[in-house]
Each structure stands twice: as structure tokens, then as C-alpha cells.
Symmetry: D2
Subunit: 361 residues, 4 copies
């Protein structure tokens, strides 16, 4: 890999560090004594602030990672024979080393999705695949949606509500993986409550890490009856920080003055700019509209290669991620380009400049 100085990084929003406000918050939280394991004032304050954020009482359980949050949420609703419906590229399906199956004990049922979004129709078909009485098949206990999706798109309020009402009618829980919830919120520009509990979301994995914290992930529960199971499981998973005040401090810093929005808006804007530029390059096209801070583009493999050599850091993506009516052809590569709070105009200009050169070459 070229030296960092020479690189432009679109590898992942996890490659960025932490925003200044996070460091300030951590430093401010570091002195004095406070109860461990979430008994501290900052943790209580976080619950209150998130209650205000979602405009209703919520339970909050901080975890170390988004995978931890997802598994915690699903563990609270797991039952014998339990199956969870999710889009085939969902993080719980392909990026958590089989933890959901192994440690939560569920089967994950893949829904195809379109542009990263699962549809109400697909959810109904998924439910139909596990008819009542077919005990040998198992039973659907939850639907998991990823907001923003794994293809850089988002669900609007009506998308969520349509699936939420199906979930409610069928007695299954609706989980939302919000690893990029801030980016989706900026894209949809609706009140947090409108696109979560009011639309039928029961459990939200809320992540501020990709948004600019160093480790700020949590399960926000809109269902008080899950409180005890979530509390015991969180502890049981080894996901409860002993000095949780530091986890709470980061989330509070993100909520303060809508810092989450400022940072996510920047990341989305950078991605939009990058998306426009890349889609204008010869031989390049988008695999899906760029709605959050991720750009999925199909480009000539030679261009991708040249860009890498020029010091651009980004990830080639599995070709079968694209929809069926679109395909990654011979000599083409699907790439994922992720912007973050730390992305600058210069990064994008360098990237596009190198890409243009590549094309010229």
C-alpha cells in the first residue's frame, strides 16, 4: 500500500479516526469517580437524551460494536426454531462471522432486495416460507432492515411502515441495523421517531462510530418488555463496558448540537460529489443511487487498478451485489467508495483526477 501521505481513503468510514468533539468528550469524562457498568450519570443522561431524540421513553444498552448490538437485539427475541429475515447482503448475514447463527442461535433467511432494500412483498414471501405447523422449518421471529442499506440507499418512512405493519400483524419483531442511521436520517430528513418506532421498529442498533466516534454503538429498545433480557444478555455477551461513562460520553457528544447531523451531512455531501464525478467518467456507472455516504460504482477494471496504484484506497465489491437487471461485465469491477466526516474535497479531486488520467491512459 502506498504511504498514507499519498493516499486518498475511501476504504471505509471505519478507516477515519474520531472527530475532535469525541476526544474532548472523552477527556472531559476521564477525571473523577463514577459508578461502573452503566451506573454513572452520563449513562443516565444518554438514556434521557435519546428519549428526547426519539420523543418517547427508550431503553439504551451500549455495546462495543455494531455486531454486538445486532446480536444483542436479536438475542432478546430469539426463540427455539427462530428465523430472521434479512436482505442477503446484510451485515448480520455476511460480516459477523456467523455470530448470529452461532451465538444467538438463529437461522438467517436471505431476501433478495432491490438496490439494497427489501420490500414488503419479499417479507410476506419470507413469512410464507415458514408456515405455521411446519415445525421442521422453524418460525420467523424477526425481520431485520439495514438503514442506510448495504448498497448506499435508504428506506423512506413508508418503506419502513409497510414492513413494520406486516411484522406487527404477524407477531414478529422489526429490528433495524442503524450502523449508518445518521447518514440515512440526513438523507431522508425526517424526525427520528417517524422512521423508527412510529413506523413499527421495535429494536434499533444505533451506531455513531462510522459517524465519527471511536466506539459508540448501542441498542435502543422501544419495547420495555425486552428490558430484562437485553440487560442480562448484554452482560452475558461481555459487551458492557466497566467504564461505560466513556461510551456514553461519545454518544452524548454526537447528540449535542446535532453533531451527528453535521458530520453525517458532510459525509453524505462528499459521497454525492464523488458519485457525480465517478458516474461521469467514461465507462463508469453507478450500481445504485448514492443516498448516504457510500458510492457503489461499476468501472473498468483497468481504471480501478490504476487508481489503486495511484494510492486510492477502496474496496472491490462482490459483483453479485448488484441487482439482477444490472450486471458487472467482463473487464469491469464493482467498487465501493465510502466517504466520512474526515473526507475532504481534495481527496475527491485527487481521486477523480487520477481516474481521468487512468481513462486517458
Amino acid at each position: 500500500m502506498p504511504k498514507q501521505g499519498q493516499c486518498v481513503f475511501f476504504g471505509s468510514d471505519n478507516w477515519a479516526g474520531a472527530a475532535p468533539e469525541i476526544n474532548e468528550a472523552l477527556a472531559a469524562a476521564s477525571s473523577g469517580f463514577a459508578a461502573a457498568y452503566g451506573g454513572d450519570d452520563l449513562t443516565s443522561q444518554l438514556r434521557d437524551e435519546l428519549g428526547a431524540f426519539f420523543d418517547r421513553d427508550v431503553d439504551v444498552f451500549c455495546t462495543a460494536t455494531g455486531s454486538g448490538a445486532n446480536m444483542l437485539a436479536l438475542s432478546a427475541v430469539a426463540r427455539p426454531g427462530g428465523v430472521v429475515l434479512a436482505q442477503r447482503d446484510a451485515h448480520i448475514l455476511v460480516d459477523e462471522a456467523c455470530g448470529p447463527e452461532s451465538l444467538v442461535g438463529m437461522k438467517l433467511h436471505k431476501l433478495r432486495g432491490r438496490q439494497g432494500r427489501i420490500s414488503a412483498q419479499e417479507v410476506l414471501e419470507g413469512l410464507a416460507a415458514y408456515p405455521e405447523g411446519a415445525v421442521y422449518r422453524g418460525r420467523v421471529i424477526a425481520v431485520s432492515m439495514t438503514q442506510g442499506t448495504e448498497l448506499g440507499t435508504t428506506y423512506c418512512v413508508m418503506d419502513v411502515a409497510a414492513i413494520g405493519s406486516i411484522a406487527r400483524r404477524n407477531g414478529v419483531v422489526l429490528h433495524m441495523d442503524g450502523a449508518r442511521f445518521s447518514n440515512a436520517l440526513v438523507a431522508q430528513n425526517v424526525p427520528p421517531k417517524a422512521i423508527t418506532h412510529e413506523a413499527g421498529v421495535d429494536l434499533l442498533s444505533l451506531g455513531f462510530t462510522k459517524n465519527g466516534a471511536w466506539a459508540s454503538e448501542m441498542v435502543v429498545s422501544f419495547r420495555p418488555e425486552f428490558r430484562d433480557d437485553l440487560a442480562y444478555r448484554n452482560k452475558q455477551m461481555g459487551q458492557v463496558f466497566s467504564k461505560n461513562r466513556f461510551a456514553a460520553a461519545q454518544a452524548l457528544a454526537m447528540l449535542k448540537d446535532d453533531r451527528w447531523r453535521v458530520l453525517a451531512s458532510h459525509a453524505n455531501a462528499m459521497a454525492a460529489k464523488l458519485s457525480d464525478a465517478v458516474s461521469g467518467l467514461p465507462g463508469c456507472r453507478l450500481a445504485a443511487p448514492t443516498e448516504i455516504n457510500e458510492v457503489f460504482a461499476i468501472m473498468p477494471s483497468a481504471m480501478a487498478e490504476t487508481l489503486s496504484q495511484a494510492g486510492a484506497v477502496f474496496a472491490p465489491w462482490p459483483a453479485d451485489t448488484v441487482d439482477d437487471d444490472m450486471s458487472v461485465g467482463e473487464g469491469e469491477t464493482l467498487v465501493r467508495l465510502v466517504a466520512s466526516f474526515a473526507t475532504t474535497d481534495e481527496h475527491i479531486d485527487q481521486f477523480v483526477d487520477a481516474a481521468s488520467k487512468a481513462k486517458a491512459a
Copy 2:
């Protein structure tokens, strides 16, 4: 609880915040881009530094918590029917919400111990309780020792080596829960290697959080053959920080200029001072010698009550924690007093002063 200003905190070393060096390290790590999930330079550097620390190659897996580290270590050696021998008050047995049983899938076999230490003889008896061929009983797969112990004592090199050789001879793994490893190392004043891998320790849960970090816990493996299982399980448990550079940075800050030693020495010294003072109070005696940063004292319940009202924060401890030849009598309370890097002489003076008053009263 009285206002923080009026309190002296001996509740737990988890109640202290983070040492200044930790904040500096976190701030320094926060800028620029770096590979996620441990692919960064700081994580590599940590492996090298710990290799130097233990004077041999090691594998290092950062986790969010000590419970996570313990479960990760044991998961790598878990087999069907697996049983782990541990001192009856071990953290894995009484403080992890049954995670080791539930998520690792093992039975934990309690050894009585003395002054918090299990003996080679007890380990042999534990092994004998699961004879070969008695499949219905299960089989011992590991012994877990806690260094420093749950009663504020430590194992010397010979203690560890005696159990280590039994473990080796019986083909079981020796795990060490080192949540207070720094404090034990200061107390024993021996090279890290002498009291770990050279004495037969295979897997170490190494914790710097109680030592003064905000979240710095890891499994250090001295057995390369466990590498893959540890790597997959760590990811599977949702214990791999996406921005692991911040976890590595904390551990590196602890290792730099033996910061761990400076902070642990202070905590131990404060505990020693407190121990001397408390054991000198009328009606007070120690439940075990104070070798690290924890004091376990039996005191008149009235004194404990007065101290609490005076603003001293500390934990009453289960009376059955003490050895059989010692007992917590009527009107007496066993208390745990924990010092940390943040404990000051003033804290101790206030506590002892209040205790003396209590006695006079």
C-alpha cells in the same frame, strides 16, 4: 449516595476514570486514516510490544471487556462436554451473568481455594472428579486462575508453575484471568514471562482498564495453534473494535515507559497503606493479606454503616468469601476496599479518620 465532592471512593478500580496518558494516546490516534478491525499499524505495534514484554512471540486479540477476553480465551479451547476448573469466586463464575456456560458452552467446576488461591492439590482433585470414560460427567478442558486473586492476594511463580505442570501433564489448558495482572506483577516483582508462559500459562486475559485505561482488555495467547479459533471467535462475539487503533493505543500507552507499573505500584501502595490503617482499627481485621490494590476487611457493621453515611463508597462483600477457618461474626461485615491509580493519601486519611470517629461513637 452523598455528593461526589464529599466522597472517598473505594468501590472499585472501575470507578476511576482514565489516566492522562490514555487521553493523550487516544487524541494522538484520532487523526488520519488507518485500516479497520486491527489492520492498522498501532495494532501491529501492540503485538510487537507485548512480544517484547513477554519475551516471546504472542498473538493478541483486543476485546471490549475482561468478560469478553475470558470468554474468548475459553471458547478457543471449548470441546463437547468441556469443564473448566476455577476458584469459586472467580469472575467467570460469579460476575459474567452465566456467559461462560451459555455462550461458551462449558460447565464451571468450583474449587474452594484458600485466600483466593487454588492449590495444585485442588486442581488434582478437580481433575479426578471427571475420570476418563465417565462421559456422562464431562471432561476437564481447562483450569482458570485469577492473578491477582478475587481476595486481593497473588500467586507466586511456583504456585503457577505447580498448576501449570499439572495442566500440561493432563492435557488441559491453563488460562489466567489477569484483570489485575499489573498489580500482581508489581506485587510479585518478577519478569512477565516467568509468571506466565514459562510457568505453563497458555492463554492470558490481560486487562489494563482497572490499571487506568478506559477500555483496554485483550487475550494474549502463547499457543499459536489457537490463533485461528481466537480470531474467528473474537469477530463472532462482536468483540473486534472497528477502529481498533484506539484500543491498541491505550495498551501501548500503558506499556510505554512501564506506565502500567507506575500506576499499579501507586494503587498497590495506597491499598497497603489503607490495609495497615484498617487492620489497626479496633474490631477490624483482614480477611486476607493485602498484596495488590484490594483490601478485604472484616469490620463492625456499625463502623461500615457510619463510614457509608460519612460518604465512603465501598462494597459489602459476601461473608462466605472468607476461608473456612475464619468467619464473619454477628454484627460484623466483610467489606472490599479498592484503591486505584486515582486514589490519594487524602482519600485514605478521610476514610481512616471517619472510621476512628465511628469507633469512638
Copy 3:
């Protein structure tokens, strides 16, 4: 081991084969076609017959083994952090290869018991060991009683009711391991309902195998709300026979004309006779009163040795099984002698005869 012809078998009631009625039932069930996996008429009939037996509607789930039944029952009530209270020698604790911990995911908390019985007081103490809010400890979700006990005694209706009401008040489930339920019922001579659901039992592992079937074990649930979880888990555990009619046929044969009672009465009577004889032998005494078909006796080791050589098959038992106020001395051995439907007066006479000779020797 001596040839079978020369032996008298008190090794276990599992060493006996099957009663004639069982063979007849299996043969009768073997012709014709019937729905698999419990959809057959015999399975429906079994549910009805057991409903009549317990004088209320019940759910019935056949399993392959008693261990399977125990794990199935406990799986239906398992929650994160779940702990089950049981007598320290309970089958789930010492004879199931850690399956309850590993596959159900619970911690088992040992209660000391007296003469094999746990007391209401011990249950209260067990509950107190997991105070509300102490999430790190876990929480009690069930109490498991073994009827008849692992020391050959039984619980009377009041014993069960006392624990049943505590369970109900504390919101925990009461499970009964009835591997020798028939023998206990004969000993207590009360209606099945009186000593189960009327006394607070929620889930019963009902075993007819030791009673004389070859494989007839089931979970009888008195709690309709557990139906679905039990059904899915049973299938999930691979415990649902494809040709369940044969499992049902065995249980039906046991219920027909109270065959269970005839066979258990014989086994109990044989054990009583053996118990009287053995307790009369010099140097011999009972470790607990013989209430069912098991005799626990402390005898001179020399006598035990001579008996084995003479062809008596029985199991030496862990000395620490006896109560604290009783002890197995130097040169003494605790032995378990189990009678079954197949035990004859001759077996007992031979045994006692050999024992007397041993003593004379």
C-alpha cells in the same frame, strides 16, 4: 465381570430389558401406515390418556431419553442469564455431560439437599443468591426437583407444594425430573395430579424406561404457553422420532391397566426387601431410607469386594453423596443397589447369602 448366568444385577434399572407388554405393544404398532413425527393416532391417544392420568389437559412431547426430556423442558424456559436451582446430585448436574449448560445455556446452581431432597428453605436461599438488579450474577428461571430423588427417597405432596408456591411467588418455573416418577407415585400413593400440577409443577420429565419400557420418555407440560417453544425445540434437538407411534405405544402400554404401577410396585418391594436384609448385615447401614427402588447402603469395603467377586453387579457411589451428619468411614464403601421390574426374590437371596458369607469370611 462374571458370566451373566452367575450374576445378580443391581447395577441400574437401565440394565433390565423390557417388559413383555412393551414387546407386545411394539409388535402391535408395527404394521400399517401412520403419519410420521407424532401425527399418528397413537400419539394423539397418548395425549388423551395422560390428560386422564393427570386429570387435566396436558401437552406431551416424546423424547429419546430422560436427558433429552430434561433439556427440552428447561430449554422452553431458558432466558439470558438464566440459572436453575437443583439438588447437587441431580441428573442434570452430574450425568448429562454438561448438556444443560452447553445446549440449553444455563448455569446450574447446586443446593445441598438432605436425604436427596431439597428444602423450601434452600430454594429461598438459592433465590436470594441472585438478587434482582445483580445482573452480573444471572437470575433464577427455574427450580428442578427429582422425584424420586437421587438418594432413593421421595418428596411428599407438601414438600412439592411448599417449593411450588415459592416458585410461583417468585415467577420461576418448577420442573420435575420424573425418571423414577412411577416408583415415587407408588411410594407416596397419591393421585398424580396431587403431586404435580396441583402442587405447582409446571413441567414434568416423565420416564417409563426405568419402569420397564425400552425407550419411553417425555415432557408433560401443564403450561399451555410453553407449547410452541417445546414443539420447536423438540424438533430442533433431534428428539422427535420419525416413527413416533412406537414411542407412544410404549407409554400407552405402561398406562394400560396401570401397568406402570404393577411394575413399579414390584421394583419397590424388591428394593424394600433388599434394604431390610442389607441393613441387617453386620457393619452395614443405610445412607438414606429406601422409599423407591434404590438402596443406598454403606458396607465394609471387604464385603463389597467379595460381593463383586461373587458376581453381584452394583455401583460404588461417591462417598460425598451422603448427608453431612453421616459419613463413609475408612474401610467402608457406599454402594447403590437398584431393583427393577425384572428383579426376583432369588436375586436378593443370592445377594444376601453371598454377603453373609463375606461377613463370615
Copy 4:
């Protein structure tokens, strides 16, 4: 459902009862005393007989069900992050209520297959989907083949060997689900060893229940290093019959004078006859060649309906089970017709007769 007398049963080979030889064997095994949990002579004899059957030493672990055998086999090879490759309609994937995921802790990766068979090419693609180093994806630990397949076909020696060598080269275990192994063996007419261990099969779930026993399922292991894990896990799963002599007796009866072959040959012949007849009916065609005792046919829905009303018992099958180049059209139904040792020519004649009438109508 029509009365049994009026019915012809092609619902499943699990709907048949037990062959006479099984009843005789059970009756013969029922008298006398024998060691429990597999310590008896019949169990030892079974190991020897299966050793002779496969022409090499084997380990044998009886289970209650085929699902139990599959989970036991896979449990022995499970590792953190473990993934198993299997044909998308495999029993472990769609008929075991998520037990493999939940109780073994693995992800199951679907391979498309053709006519029920997975190809070496698909296995290579499956392996490629979990590249080394992509810890977040998990890692392939085993390939599971079903012999005969879920579409009534079989793998020849070369099919198995091709996948076996890939498994060996990639360090993954090859498991064979042999729920209908006898039928496949008759179809392929090769020595058992040739199509199992000599072709690279490590673990075989061998089932005699569908073949004519009432409950005779077992794991046959060709890998001595799995012995301990299999033994502990079998006990842990509650799959070890206390009176295992009865399980062994059934398998021995099947092996004696090649009874398995006689019964499977009959079942296959009946299926062949049925297949020929059905494929000759107007509007009917086979979804796959009939190689064992299962016929998968696509027929006019009206015909299927008429047959059901006429008393034919059989299962409609998911339309997406057929290969991509074949489809179940409008007004058509895919049905599974299963013959067994108990199927007679009359059954088939009645069925075909009714079908012809249906067509005429």
C-alpha cells in the same frame, strides 16, 4: 383423510411401520440384564459388524433420529466461524428446525445442485466464497452430501470422490447424510467402502429407520480423532439410549443376511414401477430420474387433487425444488411419492388406476 383401509400411502417411508425382523430382534433383546448406555454386547457387536460392512475399523454412535445423527456429526467438527456447504434442499437446511445453526452453531451455505446433487464445481465456488483472512465471513469446515439425494437421485463413486478430494485438499470434513443410504447403495450397487471412506467421506449419518426399522440411526465415523468429541457430544445431546441394546439390535437385524438390501431393493423396485407408470400418464413428467425409493413427478393439479380424494396419501412438494431448466407450470403440481419396504404392487396399481380415471374425468 380417508380411512386407512381405503388409502395407498406414498406420503413418506416414515409412514411405514417396522419390518418383522425388527420386531423379532427387539423381542429377542428384551430379556436379561445388560450394561446401559452402550456398554452391552449388542452394541459392541454392532461396531464389529459395521466394521466388516465398511471393511475397516469404525466408530459407531447410535442416535434417536437422523437429525440427531447429522447434528452429532457436524458438532464434532464445529469450530468458531464454521460454515457447512450443503445442497439447498438438504435435510439439515430445511427440515431440522434450525437445529444445526442453533445447537451446533454453524452457518449453512446453500449450494444449488442439479437433480439434487451438488457438483465439485459448486463446492469449489462455495469454498471460494469464504476466502482465507476474510474472518468476518467465517470459514468452511465441512461439506455435507445427502445420499440418496433429496430429489430421489444418487451420487456415484466418482461424484463422491471428486468432492472428497476437494474436501481433503482444503482441510474440510466430508459428511454424508445417509438417511436413505441403503437405497442409494442398492442403486449404485458398489461396496459400501467404495462410496464412503475410500471416496473421502469422514462421517456418515447412517439411517435404517426409513429402510424398515422403527428407530435405527447412527453416526459412523471413519476418523478416529473425532471419537472423544462424538462420544461426549452424543451424551450431551441426550441422544444416547439408556437401553442402547435395543437400538443396536435393530441395526444388527438390518445387517444380518443383508436385510437392508432386501428391503431397500423392494422399495426401489416399487418406486421404479410407480415412476414408469406415472411418467406415462398424460400431462405427467418426472422432475428427476427415479434412482431410489422416491418419485418426484410434475402432474396436473387436477389429477393430484383427484388422487388425494381417492385416498392416495402423498406430499405436494415446493415447486422451486426442480432445476432451473425445468418448471412447474400453471395448473401443475410437483408431488413426492415415496415407496417403502411395505409398499405393494396393489398400492401402485390402485394409484395408477385412480390417476388414469382422473385423467379420463
